[in-house]
């Protein structure tokens, strides 16, 4: 009973600090939403309206049809016809993303049922743009080829035809898969910040000595400080996801219980990490920097938010296993997009729980009991 009363007293005090100085409320609730909007609108891997120029050496009905097909939807826009000599210059100047060269005799080859080729010069300096341009251009060439093949009576249908069906994100919008990542990244940062300062602040103010003169235990301090922020942080998660669904049309197909459990565990883990930093750091300056570094970089780079974990070097793949953001991103994508529940996502929940417990145990163990 006394233990609970002490934890309660610590939590109530922490809430009063927050009420006194609502900056941490803004930090917890306002900042994640603002960052989600900034990232959500700013970071998009969907490329549209890529300017491409054409060098049409054939000047035939077929070459014109090809050109039309390229620019029929919004993926590419027609940057005009240029001469072959100017193709290189246009790429160097960055005026176009790609140049499509249609060789002379394009229509003649097609008529005869021979292979007709087009040449694609792509600006490779933007890797993501180049990859997408190549993919889209190839797809269009293939589609055009099929439709020509079907039109000609003589030729049989192509032997193999792949029908793709992209589940969970049929339009392939990057927002749908980025929002969970952004949410994890932003919330990781905010949560670590929230607690990183609470213990070092007590040391700096001298109130820690006062606390230690009372029968309060270290675990009680750790839990008492964690509790109010876990509530605040879980609210922040739900708020961010609500904004994500509303603004970016991210679907929510899975179990809300799973969502709340994962959010709670993730937030508790990150707050625990902040607390550990706070316990070890001793002054607020060091604590702030350690908090920023230890939360931002791993949850950005190693969570699978931007870079797929499968593509990482083996070492980093192992490292990513201790990054809570990884499990939270996986969990969120599962709940929101794949419609999962805890039945599928219990390994992620278990990993987050384990991280949280380790943080609490290590924070308590590293808590210096004595002063001076």
């Amino acid at each position: 009973m006394r233990v609970l009363r002490r934890i309660w007293a610590l939590s109530a005090k922490e809430v009063r600090h927050v009420m006194r100085d609502p900056r941490s409320l803004y930090l917890a609730l306002g900042m994640p939403v603002v960052m989600l909007l900034l990232f959500g609108f700013g970071v998009s891997f969907d490329l549209e309206r890529l300017p491409i120029a054409f060098v049409d050496l054939d000047q035939s009905a077929s070459s014109r049809e090809l050109r039309q097909r390229y620019t029929a939807n919004d993926d590419f826009i027609d940057a005009g016809s240029i001469a072959l000599e100017d193709a290189e210059r246009a790429l160097v100047a960055g005026e176009v993303m790609a140049v499509v060269v249609i060789e002379e005799g394009f229509e003649r080859h097609l008529r005869r049922g021979e292979q007709a080729s087009i040449q694609l010069l792509i600006d490779g300096s933007d890797n993501n743009g180049a990859t997408q341009t190549r993919g889209k251009a190839e797809a269009m060439g293939r589609v055009f080829g099929f439709s020509l093949a079907q039109r000609s009576v003589a030729s049989a249908p192509p032997p193999i035809q792949t029908r793709q069906w992209m589940r969970f994100n049929p339009e392939g919008r990057s927002a749908v898969f980025l929002v969970p990542g952004i949410a994890a990244y932003v919330l990781a940062m905010v949560a670590v910040m929230l607690t990183a300062l609470t213990v070092s602040r007590e040391w700096e103010r001298g109130s820690m000595a006062q606390l230690f003169s009372t029968p309060v235990g270290r675990l009680e301090i750790v839990l008492g400080k964690l509790l109010p922020y876990v509530v605040l942080g879980t609210l922040a998660v739900l708020l961010v996801l609500a904004v994500g669904m509303w603004v970016f049309d991210v679907p929510f197909r899975g179990s809300s219980v799973a969502l709340i459990v994962l959010s709670f565990l993730f937030i508790a883990g990150m707050l625990g990490q902040g607390l550990l930093i706070s316990v070890v750091a001793r002054n607020q300056m060091v604590a702030t920097q350690a908090a920023a570094l230890s939360s931002m970089l791993p949850s950005m780079l190693l969570s699978g938010f931007i870079f797929p974990i499968e593509n990482m070097p083996m070492v980093l793949q192992y490292v990513s296993r201790i990054i809570p953001a990884r499990y939270f991103v996986e969990g969120l994508r599962g709940v929101l997009l794949r419609g999962n529940g805890l039945g599928e996502l219990w390994p992620q929940a278990a990993a987050l729980l384990a991280f949280t417990l380790v943080m609490i145990v290590v924070s308590t163990a590293r808590f210096r009991r004595s002063i001076a």
């Binding site: 610590l10 109530a12 600090h17 100085d21 103010r205 001298g206 000595a209 006062q210 029968p215 235990g217």
Partner: protein
């Protein structure tokens, strides 16, 4: 189980090569006001911190409120109140919330917490400041609030580490009235200070010099032992040149300037007012000669002086 409120046995604290507290032994009676005096850095705070379980002793042991500090720190902490030298409440909370917090930390809740707060507010006269932000309180009120927080759970013993440092004289007097009331109600008070006038209020005094407890007794006995004899104060003008020759008078132990006056201490029964008037009349003007009591300040200087002599020898 010991009958003393506090018992320290060869308590020792070493930081690297520096011995902050050097084998200190003493005991404090229940309900006593025990003064712990010494210059800054003499080891007062370090001793208090060890007794409160904030600092682990390097050697020796101590029993506080019947519990061994090293073995049962949590029990010790539950039976004591501690007020640190540096103001350490939460400045961004209002006064009452600080009381509420410390009450909660000591395990109070509900009705018992409310009545403990009322009692503390009543006792320390904080009624008008309950809703005030702690950072906005004047120094004297803050110290009273800190004391009130340390008393929330009705501890048997309170440790006050320089509770009146930097507080104006009127507030210091009020604060000491509180301390005396506490002791009358049966609470043991262990207090450090470097104001010698405050030390007069203590039932017994321990004097620390360089980590060692060099004297321990009632104020009266300390004065008798460390500043023996009879002190005469010579008041007037231009008297300081008479100090050297006065030391040569028969029976004189010491002669020191005290403001414009000179204080001359004789061995008991050998005081000679006429000789002083004659001697100082030659170098300046003597207005009056009167017998004065030794102060604790004299004791302190004598004790520190003895320590310095020991070192020289």
């Amino acid at each position: 189980m010991t009958e003393h409120a506090i018992e320290s046995r060869a308590l020792r604290k070493q930081f690297g090569d520096f011995v902050a507290v050097d084998d200190v032994s003493f005991h404090v009676e229940k309900g006593e006001i025990f003064g712990y005096l010494g210059a800054n850095g003499a080891g007062k705070s370090t001793t208090i911190r060890m007794l409160c379980g904030l600092l682990e002793p390097s050697g020796g042991s101590a029993t506080v409120a019947g519990h061994e500090v090293g073995r049962e720190p949590m029990r010790v902490k539950a039976s004591i109140g501690y007020m640190s030298q540096k103001f350490s409440l939460y400045r961004d909370l209002v006064a009452e919330h600080n009381l509420e917090f410390f009450g909660g930390i000591y395990g109070l809740s509900g009705k018992r917490l409310r009545s403990a707060i009322e009692a503390a507010v009543e006792r320390t006269g904080l009624q008008p400041y309950r809703e005030a932000l702690t950072s906005s309180l004047p120094g004297g009120i803050r110290q009273r609030l800190a004391l009130a927080c340390a008393l929330m759970h009705g501890p048997e013993i309170v440790f006050l580490d320089e509770p009146t440092a930097g507080v104006d004289p009127a507030s210091r007097r009020d604060f000491w009235r509180l301390i005396r009331e506490l002791a009358q109600a049966g609470t043991t008070v262990f207090v450090t200070t470097h104001y010698m006038d405050e030390a007069e209020y203590c039932a017994r005094i321990g004097l620390m010099v360089d980590g060692q407890l060099v004297a321990l007794d009632t104020p009266r006995a300390l004065k008798r032992d460390w500043v023996p004899g009879v002190t005469l104060s010579v008041g007037g003008r231009d008297l300081h040149r008479g100090i050297e020759p006065a030391l040569a008078l028969p029976g004189v132990i010491a002669a020191e300037p005290f403001g414009a006056a000179v204080r001359v201490r004789f061995e008991e029964g050998r005081e000679d007012e006429a000789a002083l008037r004659r001697l100082f009349g030659e170098v300046g003007r003597v207005d009056r000669v009167e017998r004065v009591d030794a102060s604790l300040e004299d004791v302190f200087l004598a004790v520190v002086g003895a320590g310095a002599k020991d070192e020289a020898a």
